[in-house]
Symmetry: C2
Subunit: 188 residues, 2 copies
Amino acid sequence: MYRAGDAFAALYLVRTGLVKSIVLNEGGREQVSGFYMPGEMVGVDGIAAGKHASDAVALGDTDVCVLPYERLEKLSHRAPAIDRHLHRILSKEVVRKQSMMLLLGSLRAEERIASFLLNLSQRFTARGFSACDFVLRMTREEIGSLLGMQLETVSRVFSRMHKEGLIQIDGKHVRLLSPQGLRRMIGN
Amino acid sequence: MYRAGDAFAALYLVRTGLVKSIVLNEGGREQVSGFYMPGEMVGVDGIAAGKHASDAVALGDTDVCVLPYERLEKLSHRAPAIDRHLHRILSKEVVRKQSMMLLLGSLRAEERIASFLLNLSQRFTARGFSACDFVLRMTREEIGSLLGMQLETVSRVFSRMHKEGLIQIDGKHVRLLSPQGLRRMIGN
DNA sequence: CGCCAACTTGATGGCTGTCAAGTCAGGTGG
DNA sequence: CCACCTGACTTGACAGCCATCAAGTTGGCG
């Protein structure tokens, strides 16, 4: 959809499919900074500097709604409700990144995966899909990148959770057998 | 200043001193999510849900300017420039958290500290203070919390950098002897 | 049929967490 | 003025988690 450094012109509202965003630092290191589901807004990191701070890439077939930022601004001056909503969207993104920081800074591999799965589950539920049975549209490597670990570790943790009866996993198809067990695992 | 869960009523603009913000998860784990210097805005994570998602605590003597959010909203409808500025502040916070995610997910202890010191240096410079000679107002534990490591590791990395002639460090007084060396260290 | 990307699993080493002991500076009270 | 105490910090020893390297499996596709 766009690359880091591109001039910022619009926000993108995901309608169907999945979008990943990727940040890069000077040293060439890169990391997935988020996966965006239908109803979520991509590109808000571009407002600050007038150019995008990350890449955004659709994973598989995806529909997005392009919202030209200038028009959005004008609209929001006339309709306070829109403005307020925009503020909330931006703030929510801050909260999300903040909780990812907590995850990356203080959880171990197993806990990160548990947290990730529960987060997906919750977002699927909110969209009317099954809470405990879904298909991952991203690779192990992309999951690992988001969670700050190697793809081998992701794979191993999935296997271990499978053995312990917490989840069922077959390739990209996941079933949560014990959401409670996963939850317990995070709080130590 | 406020605690997680408190009703959100205002944003806080730091005028002098230093503020830290802390996020907590369900399991009782906590982490410093940011240090805020004069001119920076604290509390934007509260807009999303109408209540704060983190604690904010002043480190030492600190002045803040309280900006009641309702008034800020009304103001911004009349003055588009203010509205745009508010958007940029929110977006900048997203960018900051995003680069912290990258730091936490893909850098090693030495690189994190180097990155932290250079970031401080840059922000001091922007405020007219010395770029290479400053006093840390936070403890090793707070630094470690922000960077996702233990206070012992912070201490060890400082010592190692000192031995290698990259920095001079005496308690909380830091001098960067080779910002270039620190920069090189991050890009591998 | 062969190729390739994605994934799984094993072996090994290193970074950093953890536990422990000791130093240092500042503050309090006798 | 000194003893004492406490919090912040430093340094060492050791273990554990996870990265890294490597090899093998699977499934999809031309």
